[in-house]
């Protein structure tokens, strides 16, 4: 099960302005507090942060809402974050703050059928992520076959994805994060 947090209404509840833009650090910090409260009150392993209907996202707000939230859940065992409803109005700021902190996140852009990796990534990580999304659960040998890689290379890429909480790992198998239905 995945917990969905719809950011646009949460923004309206948090700041008393008629605008739908996620701007300013104080707004981001207030939003993150609300998000953390919501997460801690539930038992889901995956949280979907939905940016649908959010206008502009600036760097300071992205730092608070996305980067700091990822840093916080990194301290929790097996908690995953998926961004959804991402548009060009959000991409730049999210990418920038994640790169600055050395973080990555799985993100589903508006209109896309499959998520992509935002923030710090490598060609191997991107390729492995895409294959895991496409093929579903599997192990290193399945990925190695699909990409014509050595098992070691595939295992390294999968481990990197798992450490960054971009896929879920269980024993020697890996599976993509659940997607919204």
């Amino acid at each position: 099960m995945m917990q969905r947090i719809d950011l646009a209404p949460l923004l309206r509840e948090t700041v008393a302005t008629p605008y739908s833009d996620m701007v300013t650090r104080s707004t981001g910090a207030a939003l993150r507090d609300r998000i953390e409260q919501t997460i801690s009150g539930a038992s889901h392993r995956t949280t979907q942060l939905d940016f649908t209907a959010v206008g502009l996202l600036d760097f300071s707000c992205a730092d608070e809402v996305v980067a700091k939230l990822l840093l916080r859940v990194a301290g929790e065992e097996e908690h995953y974050v998926l961004l959804s409803g991402i548009t060009d109005r959000h991409l730049d700021a999210i990418d920038h703050v994640l790169e600055r902190h050395g973080l990555s996140v799985a993100a589903l852009a508006e209109g896309d059928g499959a998520p992509r990796v935002l923030g710090v990534t490598t060609p191997d990580v991107d390729a492995a992520f895409e294959i895991v999304q496409r093929l579903g659960a599997g192990d290193a040998s399945r990925l190695a076959d699909a990409l014509s890689w050595t098992i070691e290379r595939a295992a390294d890429a999968l481990q990197s994805l798992a450490l960054r909480r971009l896929i879920q790992a269980a024993g020697g198998t890996y599976r993509p994060l659940p997607l919204p239905t």
Binding site: T17, Y19, D58, F59, D88, H96, V97, H101
Partner: protein, 299 residues
Amino acid sequence: MRVVPVPASLDDRTLDTLAGSLGDWPPSEGLLLDARATNWASPYGLTALLTLGQAITEVKLPPARLAVPDNDEVKSYWARCGFFHAAAECFELVGRVAKKPSDAPSDVLLPVTPVRAAEDVHHVVGRIQERAQRILAAELNLEPKATMGFAMALSEACQNIVEHAGTGGWVAVQTYNWRKRLGRKVVVIAVSDAGIGFRRSLEPTEAKKVGDRWGDGAALELAILHNVSRFRDPGRGQGLAGIRRYLGRWQGKLSVRSGTARLGVVPAWDDDVPLAEHLPYFPGSQVQITIPAQEADAR
């Protein structure tokens, strides 16, 4: 009362002349700023003038007097930019003006607007998106991605006031045709505050590390070129870094004046110096972001 002439043309270049005429800071006597012969002012000039008025009241001196321009067209333009409405808060105006704002001229994307709290930044960003996107796309050839980045840069520049200045400030946004200087249209964001400035903001954590070279120039270099913030939080300092990243992509210019120094992140089309030090003191901080119209092959 000392009379301080306002330059005939007041912008980022001539502000140093005005600063030089102020003498010691804080002033030992009341000031009369004489703008009667002023026939043009950029958003940078107008917001800096308001900062001067605000700074004088904040050092507990009587409000400065401001003799308004003689020229009716100039007066009318300044009124429509929202300048006199704002100036009534921090100056004793000398001369007849319309203080009530009317419709802003079409080249004014955001009239002079106060920034004191995070809510003001929301208001500024919301307003600029409503008004600016069509103009930026049609007149400056900026693609949608660039207009979004523009609003982000505006947001971050305004937030510097809320986060660091310790007092309020002003923002204004305008387009120009820079026929002589660049041969293209530009859009300019001007943000000015009467706050503590970059040097005092960073002094407690950075002055000792820098040593003898510590001053306004070194503080600007740390904040703008190295993303150093007074906060220990590693996520801080991203606002100016984000602005630089955006300007790098669209050949924009960033110029920041604080105290006695001015630092520029200067694109190829401009001949400004990267760092000017030992300038005459001017209170607070002044930021100018300039984005030129994009040429078809530049994208």
